[in-house]
């Protein structure tokens, strides 16, 4: 298994260098800076877990449904497969990230040769489900519909459903915090489960600074090539009557509200004001099962499904050994109920 990890590390490093040099084809132009930072983190984590030497016995053949919108999940799931002795893995590519994912498979194949059978394809949902049945275990990332379908396959599976992340700005209002909040929100155009959708804060009067920080940060975390400002604007305007104020930037929106507005707009942060802990908790509580990450400068509620508490600006970089959901570690990753 150690040699598998070494091979993976080499594949990852080579991919990283080629990505930096613009040699990795993709359907979408991603936020290069962000992808590079995440790849670097994955390289560090591969080194770290390799040095720890903890392994578990997993299934032989695993089918993975990759999610749309976030191309880095493949890098994050690979270590758990390698540490579990998986011999054969198939990735179902997502429609918009397919080229990028397919390219990475090429690096894996070159470095693993016969040690690990790794393949992937663009399949329709129906085809995927049919192929997935031939595998020992299914890992699914995606929407609720996929979760329901996996449940009907009669195979052991682990499903990582849709979630979002929040920020809690409480103890110190600073430009650096606001810049980092902009980074957390604009990462993957707010479409990842670790992208900050909502910022909760008792602070007031920082709208202009926040706007400036978003304008500055958006130059580094520029919109991905499939971002559509009109689509975001339509979604934002649709919710106009649920917010107190909308501020439109060149390629982002800031909304100010007194609740978590149920909005799905890319590059959009909803700032929610609260007075005290009890109000904060009552705002969050209805959504507690859908929270993936919390970025905070101190306090965070413990009753949520959050699997990762971060400092501002670090939401996209969960610690090594983070397996997407609260309570999941390497030792219990393959334990499933009610198959």
């Amino acid at each position: 298994m150690r040699s598998l990890l070494d091979n993976y590390l080499r594949a990852l490093e080579e991919f990283f260098i080629d990505y930096q040099n613009g040699k990795v084809p993709s359907d979408i132009s991603y936020q290069k800076l962000l992808i590079e930072q995440i790849l670097q983190k994955c390289i560090e984590c591969t080194c770290e877990i390799g040095s720890k030497g903890s392994f578990v016995k997993g299934p032989e053949k695993v089918f993975v449904f990759l999610p749309g919108n976030v191309p880095v999940v493949m890098f994050q799931i690979m270590p758990v497969l390698l540490l579990s002795g998986v011999r054969d893995v198939f990735f179902k590519f997502s429609s918009k990230e397919g080229k990028f994912q397919e390219c990475f498979i090429g690096y894996l194949k070159r470095h693993f040769k016969d040690c690990l059978q790794v393949s992937g394809d663009f399949l329709s949902h129906e085809e995927s489900l049919s192929v997935a049945k031939q595998y020992d275990f299914i890992i699914g990332f995606g929407g609720e519909e996929l979760g329901q379908k996996l449940g009907l396959l009669g195979k052991p599976y682990r499903f990582f459903g849709p979630k979002f992340s929040i920020g809690i700005l409480w103890s110190e209002l600073s430009i650096s915090a606001l810049e980092n909040i902009a980074f957390d929100n604009l990462s993957f155009d707010t479409r990842g489960c670790l992208s900050m959708k909502f910022l909760l804060t008792p602070w007031e009067g920082f709208e202009d600074q926040l706007f400036t920080c978003f304008s500055v940060t958006s130059r580094e975390l520029f919109p991905m090539s499939d971002f559509d400002m009109d689509q975001s604007e339509y979604e934002v305007l649709r919710h106009s009557l649920e917010v107190q104020r909308i501020v439109k930037g060149g390629d982002f929106f800031l909304l100010f509200a007194d609740k978590l507005v149920e909005i799905d707009a890319a590059r959009t942060l909803v700032v929610v004001k609260f007075k005290d802990v009890s109000e904060l908790e009552s705002i969050i509580y209805p959504y507690k099962d859908f929270i993936q990450g919390i970025a905070t400068d101190g306090y965070y509620p413990s009753f949520t499904s959050c699997s990762y508490v971060a400092k501002f600006g670090e939401l996209q970089f969960p610690p090594c050994g983070w397996y997407f959901e609260n309570g999941i570690i390497l030792d219990n990753f393959w334990e499933v109920k009610d198959v």
């Binding site: 990332f141 929407g143 339509y234």
Partner: protein, 309 residues
């Protein structure tokens, strides 16, 4: 002159986009429609100087609010092919502008219209049927079908076989497809010089169709027809027709404000009593005084990010 008369005159005689009148309309709507006032406030709009500065009102709001100035006497309902239905309320004054805009928008010089769209007395909530009723004031309209579906093909074919050259066939794109399929299956055609005007809505066809594909298919049934498309919706009291080399022609009194490619932003003066500055989730591409409709805005593909419903 009161605003209603000004707008009516403008629709009938407009020779360019009258921004001052458009701003007057917005102020009128803002003063009389509380939802619109809240919408503009939330978007930080106090004083409006230019149309391009304002946020356009998403048509989705018609699904949730009763939007009208004055007391309504009834409402139109959208087909709801993409989910919940819109309700667009009207009264006598608003229908007068509807009539004015519909007749002004209609670009064809014909005398006789065969409508596969049902009569307004049958489809009482359909703005499209109402439009055909308006046409009755200027043209002879023959209704050849009783619903938006086609149930009795035999009877329909029988009625259409009497179509005269120079007349116009008005129907939905879905009806055109079904009718063309039926004609093909039965080796039938109407070999006369007619105009076929379909009303878009390609999402209802069951599979994605390009407009040109649909016309190519329909040409078997109507080999000598000229095909046109009407672009309209319940929320807009004006309509556009594809008389711009296959693209829709922009109108002064229903001005598409979108620049280049993007979602449709339109200012419809005929919407005086509802909202004129509307944003529609249809992608358009504006080329000079014409525009193409590229299709409905798609929902974001769902990934691991949470999608509210």
């Amino acid at each position: 002159m009161d605003l209603h008369t000004k707008v009516k005159d403008y629709i009938e005689n407009a020779s360019g986009f009258d921004e001052a009148l458009a701003l007057e309309i917005i102020e009128f709507q803002r003063a009389n429609i509380p939802v619109y006032d809240s919408f503009l406030r939330a978007n930080g709009i106090s004083r409006i100087n230019k149309i391009r500065e304002i946020p356009f009102f998403p048509v989705d709001f018609f699904k949730r609010y009763e939007i009208i100035t004055g007391v309504p006497s009834g409402y139109f309902e959208s087909s709801g092919t993409s989910g919940q239905q819109s309700r667009v309320f009207y009264h006598e004054s608003s229908l007068e502008l509807y009539k004015c805009a519909s007749l002004k928008s209609f670009p064809f010089r014909i005398e006789l219209i065969y409508s596969v769209i049902p009569d307004f007395s049958i489809a009482k909530k359909s703005s499209l049927s109402f439009m055909l009723k308006i046409f009755e004031t200027e043209y002879k309209v023959v209704y050849v079908n009783d619903s938006y579906e086609i149930v009795d093909f035999l009877s329909l074919v029988d009625k259409l076989s009497g179509m005269k050259s120079g007349s116009l066939l008005f129907l939905t794109s879905s009806q055109l497809l079904r009718l063309s399929e039926y004609f093909r299956e039965h080796g039938l055609s109407i070999d006369r010089e007619i105009l076929v005007v379909e009303t878009g809505g390609y999402k209802a066809l069951g599979k994605p169709y390009m407009r040109s594909e649909l016309y190519d298919f329909a040409r078997y049934a109507f080999p000598r027809a000229q095909f046109y498309s009407e672009y309209g919706m319940t929320e807009l009291f004006s309509q556009f027709y594809s008389t711009c080399d296959g693209l829709y022609r922009n109108l002064n009194y229903a001005k598409v404000i979108t620049s280049g490619d993007g979602l449709l932003r339109v200012f419809d003066f005929a919407n005086l009593y509802t909202i004129s500055a509307l944003m529609v989730p249809d992608r358009v591409s504006v080329i000079g005084e014409c525009f193409n409709v590229l299709g409905r805005m798609l929902e974001e593909a769902k990934g691991c990010a949470f999608t509210f419903r």
